[in-house]
Amino acid sequence: MTRSRALSPQARTVLATLLDAAGGWRHGYDLARAARVKSGTLYPLLIRLEAQGYLEAEWQPPEPGRPPRHAYRLTVRGVRFARDNPPAPAPGAIGRAVTA
């Protein structure tokens, strides 16, 4: 059973960042940088979004000399969810950074 909670500003920002990717896959590190959230916030959030069906993830094959990486993108449901929950418009520097 999925527990419904109010979305945090960080969750809205991460959703907006994933929405900006327009269906493309994003990695954890560049997602954290783009959304300006710490990894300690990002990964629990990704776990929750994935478990709720808003996010899908895949292991991408390694490039030469690099490890395989976990990548993320919104599901169709997640796209709707992200559009319904945009970052707070007002003073948020984070929000401007994402939507600029």
Binding site: M1, T2, R3, H27, G28, Y29, A32, K38, S39, G40, T41, L42, Y43, P44, L46, I47, R48, E50, A51, Q52, G53, E56, A57, E58, W59, R66, P67, P68, R69, H70
Partner: protein, 375 residues
Amino acid sequence: MTGGLRRRLATCAVRAAGRLLPAPLAGWGRALRHEVEAIDDDAEALGFALGGLRGALMQAMAFHLSGRSIEMSVWEALRRPSVVGLACAIGASGLGLAYLTMAGAPARYLAVNAGALLIGLLVYAVLGRARRLPGSVMLALGGVLLATALFGDTQAGAARWLMVGPLFVQPSLILLPMMIVGFARTRTALATAGMIVAALALALQPDRAMAGVLVAGLGALATFRRDRATSAALAAAVAAFAAALAQPDTLPAVAHVDQILYRAFDIDLVAGLAVVGGSALLIVPALAGRRDDGRQDARAAFGALWLAMVAAAALGNYPTPLVGYGGSAVIGYLLSIAVLRRPRGESATVAITEFAPATADDAREKLPTGLYSAA
């Protein structure tokens, strides 16, 4: 800090994070580890890894404290010594931080106690459900205490401390509670030898308080089982206590460490209640658990040893555990709670199902995607 050291620390952090995460989320630990490996800048990698470790710690705490099973009632959770023990450790440490603040202790003291709590929780989580402490480990721990007596830092004729960086650490506060509780289930010849070596170390240091703690803990065990191993260890402890009492103990009281049980009331009533309440919390895990779970002896030893430590702090210039300044007792308390847990492989009286908190059904549905089933 060099780049190589940062990279090694980052690697350690993500490995710890991977071990902390409950099994259904293990794939996320692997994802974090590979992501950190992909970051070229060592400082960035370390920052990302430490953040991930913090997130994993919170996930693990949520899992262990509340999310392990939604079928398990609150009452059943409250009857588990490990759950109660964690709550008491956090509660007593929190009350101690409140007291230190009210007493005007230096900020560094608060940071040390808070840091020790985090380290203790991390060690508790990483240890997982420890199997029985092997006799060889018990003997090695006794050896550490003996080495402290022989080569440790000496003050006013007492050799009880080791210097770890800028901090004094008291190994007996860290190791002895774990050894006493561990001895409840490991009574091999090596384990008994470890307890006797520990007793010898406390006589040599000398440390009346910890020798008394050893007598109290082993005495409580002896009321449940009168076997040769317990009798031998208890006899050694009594002899060590007598030897420690026979030697002078001229250590002066240290501010914010000793004599705070009654001096706290000189500050105000709230400070006094924080210290007394925090000290009382230390004993509570001994009262948790089922009467018929076969762990009564370990719980009795746990309660007796921490009660003796509080009594020693009330009677003499000895550290007041958890509520006073000093990280050793904080870590020692959490280690003793870890050993108090039911070891892996022992039958449980409470049915426990493993799943991620709050989203168990979703998590199970997602298993085929590979997200939760990393190698």
